[in-house]
């Protein structure tokens, strides 16, 4: 299995940010075992990074690797959709 590189953009330490982080960690541990790396970027601290990546909504999860690049917005509470977005589930 290819290693997953995932970047999560959040806006400050809000409850929504925390839910998203927890959801992501939980899901990765369950589905990807050790084959992943998570980067968390707070756009309030790094607005230029958000500008470069054209992030509009937060939280936004970007799957940088493996290709293709995919974006998932929201607090990741809809697990099935997240798995679909990360190509860990076949599309119907």
């Amino acid at each position: 299995m290819n290693k997953h590189l995932l970047t999560l953009y959040i806006t400050g330490q809000t409850s929504r940010s925390e839910i998203a982080i927890a959801n992501l960690r939980h899901l990765c541990a369950e589905e990807l075992r050790d084959e992943y790396e998570i980067k968390i970027i707070d756009v309030l601290e790094n607005p230029q990074l958000a500008e470069d990546e054209k992030i509009m909504a937060t939280p936004t999860l970007i799957k940088e690797l493996p290709a293709p690049i995919r974006r998932i917005i929201g607090d990741l509470s809809d697990k099935e959709k997240v798995l679909l977005g990360l190509d860990l589930r076949r599309r119907k």
Binding site: Y9, I10, T11, G12, T14, R16, I19, A20, N23, V43, L44, P47, Q48, A50, E51, K54, I55, M56, A57, T58, P59, T60, I69, R70, R71, I72, I73, G74, D75, L76, S77, D78, K79, K81, V82, L84, G85
Partner: protein, 504 residues
């Protein structure tokens, strides 16, 4: 009471867009958000870019452009035709983009609750980076199209507007409209976005495009009401033509100037007034161009600068005509006293003609202007558009305190009025009618001064003829009635005498 009054006077931010500051009584509400709504192709993006460009060029105020549709590169390219060096300004830290344009390669999935915190953070970052005073959001509809949950988008836009207010930037948000006369904007954004609404229209009227701008509401501030025509010019952008917003400040002069014809001066009690508008109306061939030519010639003889605008005949024809009446236009132009400008009415829209004429008047600084003929311009416009053109032009000429002579063609050979007259007669200070009169199986010409504001004038209808020296006014048609209506009738000399007795 005092408090109420002060809350009614919202401070304005001068936009620097020609005409807009006039119709908005000083600009956009400072520190507030204004919604600019329009159908696709109504020049919303041009207007918004100009708002920022004018800020940088004229007011030394930097701007942020948040784009949801076109990429920054496309905007730079599309706007370069207006002479705005956006890319340079970006380099100098005067202009910043927040690029929220869609990327077709990236697929986005929604999984759970979200907000627009990142967008807001980017906007705040850009505003702080260039110390922006102005901001543009182009366009709101595009945000709605990108996210499935409209309630979230609404709430977030509301939050963004509120924080823009806190940052103290004056903002424009654009929004799409489905039709020219209907809902203000899609998704009813006007309800939560802005206290101020401006509508831009691009209406198809009798197969002609007519652009207008209207300030629908400015909460707590005064503005001019109704639609104002505007045009888009290369190197300049949006130019709004304020018509009724023009103040009637022109002073009235009592100085008389010559019409270029002694006999005509006589029946006008010594000539036209310095800053008056004269309408010469008549059927084709009655001598309108001659009156215009003499008007120009008379001005040049008096050492004035003259501008002749021909919309009917070519330069060659106008010069030959003038030559035939003993006026040498070639020499006058060489001496720099005269400028003759000929253009087909169809070569541009009426708004563009108006701006071209205004520009020429500003540059050449003539003492008198003649237009031959105004009615030729009727062809290229709707009735409404033509009326606005005439009013706009007359007001401009009066403001410059120069004399203007317009000719108008009547539709019928005998009698009748022209549409031009109907629109212009109340604006003009003097009206001269030229008419054909049928007498004893022969066509004669008649001239009369119908009105002359602020002056006595000869009330008689006089015959006149044209020869190599120009126009010669003769005696009055004493025993003919119905000349102006086109149904002339002989009356007996005794009857004429009796009528005269009655009015003595």
């Amino acid at each position: 009471m005092n408090q109420e009054k002060s809350s009614l006077t919202v401070e304005k931010l001068k936009t620097g867009i020609e005409g807009f500051d006039l119709i908005s009584n000083g600009g956009l509400s400072k520190g507030r958000t204004t919604l600019v709504a329009g159908t696709s192709g109504s020049a919303k993006t041009v207007f918004s870019c100009q708002f920022l460009a004018a800020g940088i060029e004229k007011m030394d105020e930097n701007g942020v452009f948040v784009t949801f549709e076109e990429s920054p590169l496309d905007i730079c390219r599309n706007m370069s035709g207006f002479g705005w060096g956006i890319a340079d300004w970006e380099g100098q830290g005067k202009w910043a983009f927040v690029d929220a344009s869609p990327d077709p390669d990236i697929e986005t999935i929604e999984a759970g609750g979200y907000d627009m915190g990142a967008l807001l953070a980017r906007v705040e970052y850009a505003v702080n980076k260039v110390k922006a005073k102005r901001l543009v959001f182009d366009s709101l509809g595009a945000i709605f199209d990108r996210f499935s949950d409209r309630t979230i988008v609404r709430g977030e836009l509301f939050r963004i507007t509120a924080s823009l207010k806190k940052m103290g930037v004056t903002a424009i948000m654009t929004a799409e409209r489905a039709e020219e006369y209907g809902d203000i904007a899609r998704f009813r954004v006007e309800e939560f976005v802005a206290d101020n609404v401006v509508i831009m229209r691009n209406v198809l009227e009798a197969s002609k495009r007519r652009r207008t701008i209207e300030i629908l509401k400015f909460r707590g501030a005064y503005h001019q009401k109704g639609e104002y025509p505007f045009t888009i010019m290369p190197d300049e952008g949006v130019i709004i033509i304020p018509l009724s917003a023009m103040e009637l400040v022109h002073s009235s002069s009592t100085i008389r100037i010559t019409s270029g014809n002694k006999e005509l001066d006589n029946i006008c009690n010594g000539g036209f007034f310095r800053d008056s508008i004269i309408l010469v109306s008549g059927a084709t061939g009655t001598g309108k161009t001659l009156v215009a030519t003499e008007f120009i010639g008379g001005g040049i003889d008096a050492g004035e600068r003259c501008l002749l605008l021909g919309f009917e005949e070519s330069r060659g024809q106008l010069f030959r005509n003038a030559d035939g009446w003993g006026r040498n236009f070639v020499k006058m132009e060489k001496e720099g006293k005269l400028k003759v400008y000929c253009e087909y009415p169809e070569s541009a829209s009426l708004e563009d003609h108006l701006i071209a004429v205004k520009k020429m008047i500003d540059e050449f600084k003539p003492d008198r202007v003649a237009i031959d003929s105004l009615s030729a311009l009727e062809r290229v416009a709707t009735v409404k558009g033509f009326r606005e053109f005439v009013i706009g032009l007359s007001a401009f000429i009066k403001q410059k305190e120069i004399a203007g002579l317009f000719t108008a063609v009547t539709a019928s050979l005998m009698g009748g009025t022209s549409i031009t007259e109907a629109h212009i007669s109340t604006i003009t200070d003097s009206i001269i009618l030229l008419r054909y009169v049928e007498m004893y199986g022969e066509m004669q010409r008649a001239i009369t001064v119908l009105k002359m504001r602020g002056s006595m004038h000869d009330k008689a209808i006089r015959e006149f003829n044209i020869d190599g020296q120009g126009l010669h006014i003769g005696k009055s048609f004493r025993n003919v009635t119905g000349i102006l209506s086109g149904v002339s009738q002989q009356i007996l000399p005794e009857d004429a005498g009796r009528v005269e007795e009655l009015f003595k």
